[in-house]
Amino acid sequence: MSASLAILAAILLPLIGAALLSTQGDNPNKREGITILTTIATFLCVLTLLPEVLDGHRPGVELIELFPGISLAFRVEPLGMLFALIASGLWIVTSLYAIGYMRGHHEINQTRFFVCFAVAISAALAVAFSRNLLTLFAAYEVLSLSTYPLVTHHGTEAAKRAGRVYLGILMTTSILFLLLAIIWTYHLAGTLEFTPGGILAGHVSGTTVGVLLGLFVFGAGKAALMPFHRWLPAAMVAPTPVSALLHAVAVVKVGVFTVLKVVIYIFGLDLLTSTGMSIWLMYVAAFTIIAASVVAIYKDNLKARLAYSTISQLSYIVLGAALANTWGVIGGGMHIAMHAMGKITLFFCAGALIVVAHKTEVSTMQGLGRKMPWTFAAFGVGAMSIIGLPFVGGVWSKWYLALGAAEAHQIPLILVLLVSSLLSIVYLVPVVAQAFFKEAPAHGHDHPGDAHHGSDENDGENLERKHILCVLPPCITAVGCILLFFYSDALYTLLAPIAGG
């Protein structure tokens, strides 16, 4: 298969799959069969591109010219390659999980759910492969709109309100800031192509660089940089598979991916370091890292806690971009992978807890570890990755980010990274610790009587087995977290060219 065909296939296959499965609403088994086949085929298409990119090629395809000199066009470079691999790879696992979750939780409108999900993945892949800012922006907006029905899935008043916050913030920031920045860039540079070394050098100077950068990073509202972060906790009303793949991986990573792409290929690292116009962004990101972690500590709802943790972790990547040096962008790029694998594990576990034990609040999960050992073990591994402990992937990206901070002579930022790790210990470790080491309350109000309590434990183990599709995926991604630790040099090899200029 030629590379340009593979690019188009990767973007179109989810759409074709969506069209096919929308006709199978009455036949859930067939529908889910189509979903799984689509995910695997999409991933394989993405995978065929990897050797070419590793060889230094940048395969691409051009569709149609929208404005003079700007086309809808795709080109695969290392950062996009990495992001596409993660998004399409984790889509397979998430689809398995979604089947277990949606059926186990007796969700409504499952067909619409799977259709919108596929469209969202297609848009995320289009963002990953986009050759210029216009293509990226178009896919970015498609992603916002296609995830709206997923966020408001339950159709309740609460879902509607969350949908307003979600679309309100994402649309406002993207139209008001991002689009303005894009058109401004076009006006200044006469092009929007992602070009190694950037396109803005020589066209802007002084504070304009800082203003334009601000428009871009706040415009990419999906990066959830404070103060435009509120949509992410709001999006947690969605079914957990959505929170797991979209609001821990695809959607939020599109935001930080945009920031990285803009810094590397639009501004160029040299322009930012020579003007010093990204230093303010380092500290906005640092503030978001700390503040969101502190908020996370106080959230009892597990999904809300994870959402704030995501906000904090996303700013690591923004920080990497703001550092605007080799270590910073490689660390940021790597953290896309590390955080994706870690956080999706945590969300899978949170969803499994909802389906198996009907628990959403952290304080009600004491002693659950014995009933759901696999789930909590996976949670522990994911948590270690987020914290940044050795033998799990997350430690590497933090390491490179710290190196980047040192190179930029921003020693306080190293401190921020350390404090953030400590804070994430505070909000993640108790979840696992109290599940394993605390006794379950003598009797919950829904399980009266000691005798019943005993039999309930056995039920628990059976339950984990009964909901195997909810419990297996987090175990898979937990193994993924560990593998990422040992194979991080592969990621480094892939990403190394992006900072080469």
Binding site: L66, A138, I175, L176, L180, I183, H187
Partner: protein, 491 residues
Amino acid sequence: MSQLPVFQILLPLLAAPLSVILRRKTLVWQLATGVAWASLIIAWNLLQEVQANGPIAYHIGGWAPPFGIEYRIDILNAFVLLIVTGIAAVVFPYARRSVEAEIPAEKHHLFYAALLLCLTGLLGIVITGDAFNVFVFLEVASLSTYSLISLGKDKRSLTSAFQYLVMGTMGGTSILIGIGLMYAVTGSLNMEDLAIRMAAMEDKRTLLVAFTFFCVGISLKLAVFPLHQWLPNAYTYAPSTVTAFVAATFTKVSFYVLLRVIFTLFGADLAFLDLHFDKVLLVLGLLGVFTGSLVAIYQENIKRMLAYSSVAQIGYMIIGISFYSVNGLTGGIVHLFNHALMKGGLFMVMGCILLRLGSVQLSDMRGLGRRMPLTMAAFVVGGLSLIGVPLTVGFVSKWYLILAALENNLWPVALLMLVSSLLAVMYIWRVIEVAYFQKPDDDAPELREAPTSMLVTTWIMVGATVVFGVFTEQTAGVARQAAAFLLGVSP
């Protein structure tokens, strides 16, 4: 010499009395639809010819200008002809079921006759190169529109038609005075000829007065803020077909006349350098955008909401002129096309809803997303286009307008236009939330989807907003040529 230009007018003009004679409603509808399609084919051929060989001059009856009447077709009006006939070709097939439901059977042949006359008038305004001819056709189109609006089912359609009649007549008179003044000082009515003679005149005083009368008159017809008062009522209470057709064409044709008057007749130097008319247009355009959008947010009647949205969209086109640059004019002209598609499509959706639901009040639309899924989906797509989401036509217009604002260093204007798209998000999403998130009353009747003929044509129109949002060569590309032509620069 090809006789195509005159057939562009003759076909609908002759079909109008013919339909009064034929009387049978199906036959009359078939005739009107056939004429609309034939007109579209003619307009398409004219555009091809203009693009290949440059402007066409057609002398009526062989009388040479400036004494005879000349039809003059260049890239700009060829494009507008195509838009008007294209809209007619989609709306006329749509009309049958909607008209059956809204107009008494004994008036059907008169309705189609008036509709054909309206088409004749609109095409005449666009095609002619004679200033007085513009006025005549403008009155043909206006008079038929007044009567079409008054046919609406709601009694208030009569008063709104009357209001429009009063305002429209004032506009028409103002234009006539402008023409009279020009004729008095130059002795000519042919636009080419007028432009040459007026440019040569030393004393510009009379011309300035004529220009002012012209602009006020056209602004009334175009519903430029604050002369838009007639529009919301007229659009709200007119029969669905009329709203869809008139909203998509009449303001566009008026916008075309404004372009002609400024750029061809009086010259941009007089308008922008002597009179600073661009500043006036910019301010009025922005005011129109914001008043229109803000008022739209508070409307309960969705047809009225869309009507106020039209006031805002006209504002965008006006802003496009005010930039006085290729990109600005491209944005204005392409928005002329794009807005015709989106507003035509959205009003067609309203016609479908009115037919089945019997109301276009927001409170009656609860749960409509499930009750009429295809119709509401069309509303969503059209609405997204109105907001200006990428890969829809709205985005194309917005891109050019904002780029032009930045080129002129008017970044606050760029920001204001972006803010106004957010207002569009608000008024569109209000409808979407009610239609998809609220449950209908328990005693709400089961609804069927709209009839196939209406649904298909509505989707053609709405689908076009996406198709032309991606394939921009035939719209933005042509608009760019037209803009360059008006400014006298190479594209």
